[in-house]
């Protein structure tokens, strides 16, 4: 085996320019593939982290039908205090859950005493929200990130609203809301902080204390619209979704129908579709890489066989078994693939290391995204194996031709 590979390596170096060109092409393919995977993966992680950590959590519980009409922020699809208690009991018994936060969502009018505009609000318990959506604090770009997220009588408002309404930290503003019965109520607030916008539903919402939200809506009981759940390990999302979903299905109305719906972040954010598109593009690039390896290696191997027909005839005549002749050419394909894969993976790792030293930043909507691309050993290994496997497959047909060659015809070849 080693002798076969040694001779294969010698044969490859016989046409070293062609070999280096082909290996270089494979290297470029591997580099492009791995850089795309790492950059796209980093972008996905940043976006998913932002969406889940500062906005949606990993999962959310709502009354059935709420998500379908979430744009209207309906006040008649609330979770009653009794229902909330039952859900909390289920959540407390699930060890995979790290934290949860109960939110009261509403729409209101926002006034700076000169102008008025509409606003979407989340009533939160600051401590619970901090635990379930720890990224919310990092979105505070004005007003300081230390201390409690907010106190009663305070507001966290989105940046666009603050700029548009020319509202600064500490300014007094008024919120006016209409409750379920049609009664209008208003309350004064002080602006505690300005939030950086993020992509996704609720990315431009304001936050207030849940007691204030209840007061604004003249709500006697501790009702809520959603419960945001954070898991200890996002990798267990599907498992927890299945088990928790089954348990919440048991909570039914008098007609015996389930009253709750459980969604993961993918079901709530349109970014999940972008993430799927990125995965699809990764697949396409993988297919392109396969095509590059297949065509370049097969081309080189076909030329190698054609140029060495007499040599193949000689080797066959002196008794080299057909399987060994096949091995010689498959070995050349294997080594070509290995060379391209190893150099490609090493270059990719070096470039990814450089990108971490000098991170790439680019605007995404109103945000600046900073990429910290990473390459897992598994990803590098899988791409290397794919390349080597394809190189071997590409060399099989030329190698088969070489091994089946008639020695007499081959020896006569000019």
């Amino acid at each position: 085996m080693i002798a076969v590979l040694r001779l294969s390596a010698r044969n490859l170096m016989r046409y070293h320019r062609r070999t280096l060109l082909t290996a270089g092409l494979i290297t470029l393919g591997v580099l492009a593939m791995l850089l795309f995977v790492s950059a796209a993966g980093s972008f996905k992680q940043v976006m998913i982290g932002q969406i889940t950590d500062s906005l949606l959590g990993h999962m959310e519980v709502h009354r059935r039908g709420y998500v379908a009409s979430v744009d209207n922020l309906p006040l008649n699809l609330n979770l009653s205090p009794q229902l909330i208690s039952k859900v909390k009991a289920e959540l407390d018994s699930e060890p995979a859950i790290a934290a949860y936060s109960v939110r009261l969502k509403l729409g209101a009018m926002f006034s700076n005493f000169n102008e008025t505009t509409s606003i979407r609000l989340n009533g939160i318990d600051p401590v619970a929200e901090d635990a379930a959506a720890p990224g919310l604090r990092t979105r505070i770009i004005e007003g300081g990130r230390d201390g409690p997220l907010l106190a009663p009588g305070e507001l966290l408002i989105p940046e666009l609203l603050a700029r548009g309404m020319k509202v600064k930290i500490g300014d007094s503003v008024v919120l006016v809301a209409t409750n379920r019965e049609g009664s209008v109520n208003g309350k004064n607030f002080k602006v505690r902080g300005v939030l950086e916008p993020v992509t996704g539903p609720g990315g431009r919402d304001a936050y207030l204390h849940t007691d204030d939200a209840r007061e604004l809506l003249r709500m006697d009981e501790a009702e809520a619209m959603e419960i945001v759940i954070r898991l200890k390990d996002l990798g267990k999302l599907d498992k927890v979704m299945a088990s928790l979903g089954a348990r919440l299905e048991q909570l039914t109305n008098p007609q015996g129908r389930p009253v709750l719906e459980l969604h993961d972040w993918k079901g709530l954010s349109p970014f999940a579709n972008i993430a799927s598109m990125i995965d699809l593009m990764t697949l396409f690039i993988r297919v392109m890489l396969v095509a590059i390896v297949l065509t370049s290696v097969m081309n080189v191997m076909l030329m190698a066989v054609y140029e060495r027909i007499r040599e193949i005839g000689t080797l066959a005549a002196i008794g080299t078994p057909p399987s060994r002749i096949l091995g010689l050419y498959v070995g050349e394909g294997l080594l070509l693939g290995l060379l391209g894969a190893i150099v490609g993976v090493a270059l990719s790792a070096a470039v990814v290391g450089l990108l971490n030293l000098y991170p790439l930043q680019f605007p995404f909507g109103r945000q600046m995204i900073t990429l910290h691309p990473t390459l897992s050993a598994g990803e590098m290994l899988s791409v290397a194996l794919l390349v080597v496997g394809m190189a071997v497959i590409a060399s099989l047909q030329p190698a088969w031709r070489a091994s089946r060659m008639d020695p007499i015809q081959a020896l006569r070849h000019v």
């Binding site: 002798a3 076969v4 005839g313 005549a317 008794g319 078994p321 057909p322 020695p407 007499i408 020896l411």
Partner: protein, 228 residues
């Protein structure tokens, strides 16, 4: 039993409906340690007969046995195995592997065909390179050797696995007369030293004089036999 026995061997090539007899009713025997030349003009059937004896091709009719093995009964794999175990080949254009040194070319049959152990292999390769006077050039690649030196390496390669029979197709055709005689002398010396049977083809009258037995072919027929 003779080393090679041919009985009414014919070889027909077909091209569409046209048949061409490359060999017609060849019957001959060649014994161990013989030094035999097939001579004749181009197209007389010398190479075809060597190819049949070398198990590179099958006769169209008749019976040909080499070391008691019926050549027609061997399939591709069995033929390769038989050649690797029992035969050595020397080619007109030397046919050394260009990426291998003289040493590695001679080593090739032991390494890739016979699978000898490294120490035994090294000793055998050096013995043969020494025997053909190429030990000092062992590290050189074919493109660094003269035609005569290449053919010496090729003879060493043919003999390294200690075959009973070496077949040489026009081994001197690409050499000048002096070198050609040296190569033939070397082959004869190897026959004497190792007891190997040599069968070679030539159309050079001066070279055929070196053979101990000459079989003349014409239009695929064996027309004359001359014993030196």
């Amino acid at each position: 039993m003779s080393l090679i026995e041919a009985s009414a061997v014919s070889k027909i090539y077909r091209s569409g409906d046209v048949e061409f007899y490359a060999l017609r009713d060849i019957s001959l025997t060649i014994d161990t340690r013989e030094f035999v030349a097939f001579v004749g003009p181009s197209g007389s059937g010398k190479s075809t007969l060597l190819n049949l004896i070398g198990c590179l091709d099958h006769p169209s009719s008749g019976r040909l046995t080499v070391m008691g093995t019926d050549v027609a009964a061997l399939d591709r794999k069995a033929s390769a195995h038989f050649r690797g175990e029992n035969l050595g080949f020397v080619f007109q254009e030397f046919n050394l592997v260009p990426v291998l040194s003289a040493y590695e070319n001679v080593e090739y049959p032991l390494l890739m065909v016979r699978g000898w152990a490294p120490e035994k292999r090294h000793a055998q390769v050096m013995k043969l390179l020494d025997a053909v006077g190429m030990a000092a050039q062992a590290h050189k690649r074919p493109d660094q050797l003269s035609g005569g030196q290449k053919q010496r390496v090729a003879v060493a390669r043919a003999l390294v696995s200690e075959p009973k029979l070496v077949l040489a197709d026009e081994p001197t055709a690409n050499l000048d007369h002096e070198t050609a005689h040296k190569v033939i002398a070397l082959m004869k010396q190897m026959r004497d030293d190792y007891g190997t049977t040599f069968v070679f083809s030539t159309h050079d009258p001066k070279i055929m004089q070196a053979a101990e037995r000459t079989l003349m072919l014409e239009d695929g027929r064996l027309v004359k036999e001359v014993q030196a």
